[in-house]
Symmetry: C2
Subunit: 415 residues, 2 copies
């Protein structure tokens, strides 16, 4: 069978399995997840051996890359725990989102159902294989996984282990993995709009952009973020400093960390020296506008490019603004619409900020780092959508569903 | 300015106007809609003159086409009434969809906001210009309209009339019309993913397919429908006959009319002769499976192609099935997932049917013709989505929105 026929066949198999999975009971889905977790633990030795072969083949790569690729007994157990946690979450399928009765007596219910078949394309972390498979299974979606070629042996084995274990209670074909490292397979996958309902890429901006440009299937993007923290003139400055440190330095390499700090002119002289010292103590390099440099003599000047840059690193650009409106204008121009925060004790200013800034998540007196499915209480996260359609911001199980209308009547006809 | 620059410029103007429109009060949006309605009535003479020129240029076209294109004083008044009805609807923007508090005290609200900029590409009916502009305006979305070239003069004038009238209370640039009949303009529009958030095509299958294939912007499709009515063995047969007549013949040329009638074997002998006579009396041509032809001697045999055909006409294919499961299997194979109905007095059978068939709308003892935004009580309809992502089935104002999360804290940081 050719590569193309192979990919087409597995997408069709997933499509054919989707209705049965959509109709599988919560208990059977949870049993499959728990069986998968048990099998990962029972077969950890095999998985570690397959992973060791992948790591050996990738030993020329950068250390951080090899670290993401490498499994340990603890990481395998974490995958198993993740599946058990998904089993513990409420099943979104069948939930009645809303219901109403029409004057003619028709009873209309909007009922949550799975999206159908989800394609997940991801990079080197092999834990995504278990994580994504678990989230799709729980939400009643068949899944076609395509992992990074460096983790090929590991991903194939994890998918086998899970599919074998789950097959007792869910349709086996509902979990598919593309078993070739040939990149042509991705191009074929992205054309299967008859079989696959949505593509969710998990990885860097380049991967997501390439997929979005060539896909014939809708793509839920999760581009990274240029996030801002705005310190209002009515801010509690001690609180502002704590939030700034957390939003920048607690984990700088993630999309919900801030890249720009905006400070109202009236508090700049009081706030900047203190926050500057605290940032430097945390190892953060500061790049400032001319006005901010007056209060941060050790910082280097920011260039025009700095305001639009996602550093994903211990670097922060600081700008003094004349007003809340200026802060909003800055965010509209330079922000990426993922997450922005205001620090203020002025309720009206907070309301104005959250109304005017159109980002997926707006924070008042809290860190942007909470832009996260777990922190939102979803119990899981398949990604953080930067799309405006379908799902926006952190995506949990519900965001992997759509709905249908169930209309019950007593013989109503349309006149 | 070149055509490309022109289209790019008007998309960017819409994008630039979107935040101000998103922040416009309900009262100001409603005032703009009512002013637009008044202006349509006041300038009806000008609009009729422009329309007469369009009709004159199209006089070689088919009569049905010319009818769709032609405006009358009554049709202009209907457009005005439509805008006033939209003004009377609740504003979806700002609605708190859900809110909750996290254990750490963060208060999270999911708030409805406009999608941003919507591109509407439509065919000959000029009333879509007013209708789509009104729905987008009320839902806080800037809009880029591109109408059919046959209605060019009419559309330009309607857009001018509305934009002039609305400009007193909403940003003028929020309503844009592509002012060229060159088809290249559509190709340029479909590439403006930086300015336009979603494309909604309104027209025939060919238009929608062509747009979907070349768009770099997400498209909400509303393909037509192959809908089914299944008469269960436990059906009230008089009720089944009434529903069948309504679903097929009340208005056959629309997507929510049925194309296939499925009849349980146990009731075929009693049901088919009666429904056959009633259908023939309504002018419906019947094409039947061999089994159904035993009870419908005058009908012609259905071919394999019939089961997948959307007639949009007074033609109905009839198939006898052995069971509810067979009906479900038929619908999964031949239906288009828009709307399907079961007639039964057996609650368990109804529940099984609506669970197993994954269409946008499932009806129990009611006509599929109710698959409609107005009939659902939305008060408006921009289309009937056949997508699974974002919106499914009838789309009203809410379906033209997305959401953002507003998170209020007291200094929470992530550990």
């Amino acid at each position: 069978m050719s590569l193309e026929q192979d990919v087409v066949a597995l997408c069709r198999a997933a499509r054919a399995a989707a209705p049965a999975l959509a109709g599988t009971s919560t208990a059977d889905k949870n049993a499959a997840l728990r069986a998968g977790a048990a099998a990962l633990r029972a077969r950890a030795g095999e998985i570690l051996a397959a992973n060791a072969a992948d790591v050996e083949a990738a030993r020329e790569e950068a250390a951080a890359f090899v670290d993401r690729l490498t499994l340990t007994p603890a990481r395998i157990d974490a995958m198993a725990v993740g599946l058990e946690q998904i089993a513990d979450l409420p099943d979104p399928v069948g939930e009645v989102i809303t219901r109403w009765t029409r004057p003619n007596g028709l009873e209309i219910a909007q009922v949550r159902v799975p999206l159908g078949v989800i394609g997940i394309i991801y990079e080197s972390r092999p834990n995504v294989t278990a994580d994504a498979a678990g989230l799709c299974l729980k939400s009643g979606n068949a899944v076609v996984l395509r992992g990074g070629r460096e983790a090929f042996r590991t991903n194939c084995l994890i998918a086998d282990v899970l599919a074998d274990a789950a097959a007792a209670t869910v349709p086996r074909d509902a979990l598919q993995l593309v078993r070739t490292t040939d990149r042509e397979a991705v191009r074929v996958l992205l054309r299967q709009s008859d079989s696959v309902d949505v593509i969710i890429p998990r990885g860097g901006e380049e991967l997501i952009r390439a997929i979005s440009e060539s896909s014939r299937i809708p793509v839920i993007q999760h581009f990274s973020g240029v996030c801002q923290l705005y310190v209002d003139r009515a801010a509690d400055l001690a609180l502002a400093e704590r939030l700034c440190l957390n939003a920048k330095a607690q984990r700088p390499g993630v999309c919900n960390a801030i890249e720009n700090l905006l400070v109202h002119r009236e508090v700049a002289a009081r706030f900047l020296p203190a926050v500057g010292a605290a940032l430097r103590a945390a190892g953060v390099e500061i790049r400032g506008c001319p006005e901010s440099l007056r209060h941060l003599p050790d910082a280097r000047p920011a260039t025009d490019a700095d305001w639009d840059t996602e550093y994903l690193d211990l670097i922060l650009s600081i700008r003094v603004v004349d007003s809340l409106d200026d802060a909003v204008a800055f965010i509209r121009r330079h922000g990426s619409g993922l997450a922005d925060a205001i620090v203020t004790t002025d309720r009206a200013a907070a309301d104005r900020f959250v109304a005017a800034v159109d980002s997926a998540a707006l924070f008042v007196n809290a860190s942007t780092r909470f832009t996260d499915g777990f922190e939102f209480g979803f119990g899981a996260e398949i990604g953080i959508s930067t799309n405006r359609l379908h799902a926006r911001g952190p995506m949990g199980l519900r965001e992997l569903t759509t709905y249908k209308y169930v209309v019950r009547g007593t013989g109503q006809i349309r006149e």
